[in-house]
Symmetry: C2
Subunit: 220 residues, 2 copies
DNA sequence: AAAATGATTTAGGTAAGACTAAATTTTACA
DNA sequence: TGTAAAATTTAGTCTTACCTAAATCATTTT
């Protein structure tokens, strides 16, 4: 049976937090889900007890997803990213505005609806932030992008993805012209603070690691 | 604060059941909401105790909506009907398929989303079933339609609205060519059983009261 | 008018999913 | 290595919205 909205949210966050290969901690999950750590422990124990289990869990060791949990998470993520893409393409939302709306819609659309928007959009590979969209058979495509922070003076690339859910930051980047699909060139690198000076379009900006670590590019 | 999904459902059903001017009974509400009568009593008492109260309620006398309750109900109904219209126009759903999807989406869309689809659709007056869409300031437009059951031999009209949530019935009518905006003529009337023989497009059908009472037309 | 029937309400219970406070485990560091 | 701090878990509550069973009210029939 279809997991509840709460469970879908837990699975999605666990997926995101474990993308680095490490189990997700109770604390980190609590912060991401805007919930107290004690509530996370309770829910995790429940998810581990489902059959089939949705998470792998050892007390005090953090959680990871089982195959079943991963499938459920990718389903939600696919919904989220398709919906964002669709809102931008058909309702004129800008890419920094769609997150909240998608966050609610992702839990209530049918599989039929998912198929229809995927088809209407031509089965897109990335959402408006540049995030990869899981395929219909729930595989996450390979990510061939590089963090902007890895580029040095005179290297250039095309922005593929902005990884952040911080609306203020996204709006700021939008104003700087740093949006997915924009070509970008590093004109200076400061080895002290790792700041990059980059030009995108006609604009030049100096960016710290907190930003260059969230922008992912295809190296030219 | 925004009412819960359950409360929105209760208010919507109370609105529908009181359109005839009569208070809604516990039993009828329970049937419409797929819930036991005891649960309805509990919820109604809660809604009457809210401040401001959302319903008017006297034990054993049924419920009606207060002004605040009516506003909340019309908000949900507006969402529902705009969403149905939008699914049909932009995703190729047919008018007999959209109800379930709208039933879930209506509770989670933002006011911004509502405004965007209303604008994208050109602020439509009726949804794909022909139901009137409450205006942005939450007034229900006047209904100038007549039930098909009131027409007699040689009278004709245009179908404005099909009032039913029964998917099988809707599909059946769709197959008979009895859809909103279709012109229709009564070629025979049986005074015994009130059956009407009507032609719509090239097709002729004999319809009982259970159907002619649910089809609303603009008399020519 | 009393009894039977049906509708409604009351009382008490359950499941989800959150919370607080207290107990425990792990980690860090002096 | 012992202790303090941080992270985590346990235990016990709360709210929402449903349920069943039993009691009460209203209506119809006799």
């Amino acid at each position: 049976m279809k997991p509840s909205t709460s469970i879908q949210d837990y699975l999605k966050r666990i997926y995101e937090l474990t993308e680095n290969g490490q189990p997700a901690s109770t604390n980190d999950l609590a912060r991401e889900l805007n919930v107290k750590p004690a509530s996370v422990t309770g829910m995790i124990q429940k998810l581990a007890a489902e059959k089939p289990a949705l998470v792998e869990y050892q007390k005090h060791q953090g959680v990871t997803l089982t195959a079943a949990g991963k499938r459920a998470a990718l389903e939600v993520i696919r919904h989220h990213r398709l919906i964002e893409t669709w809102l931008v393409q058909t309702l004129g939302y800008s890419w920094d505005e769609v997150h909240e709306e998608a966050e609610r819609l992702e839990h209530v659309i049918s599989e039929d609806f998912e198929r229809r928007i995927a088809a209407a959009l031509g089965h897109p590979l990335r959402d408006p932030h540049g995030e990869l969209i899981p395929t219909a058979d729930l595989k996450m495509p390979l990510d061939e992008s590089t963090p902007l922070s890895a580029l040095r003076k005179n290297q250039s690339g095309k922005i593929l993805c902005i990884k952040s859910a911080d609306a203020d930051l996204l709006r700021h980047l939008n104003e700087l012209g740093l949006t997915p699909n924009t070509s970008i060139e590093v004109v200076d690198y400061s080895p002290f603070d790792h700041n990059l000076t980059v030009t995108a379009g006609k604009r030049t900006s100096v960016l710290g690691l907190n930003i260059t670590g969230r922008i992912f590019v295809e190296k030219k």
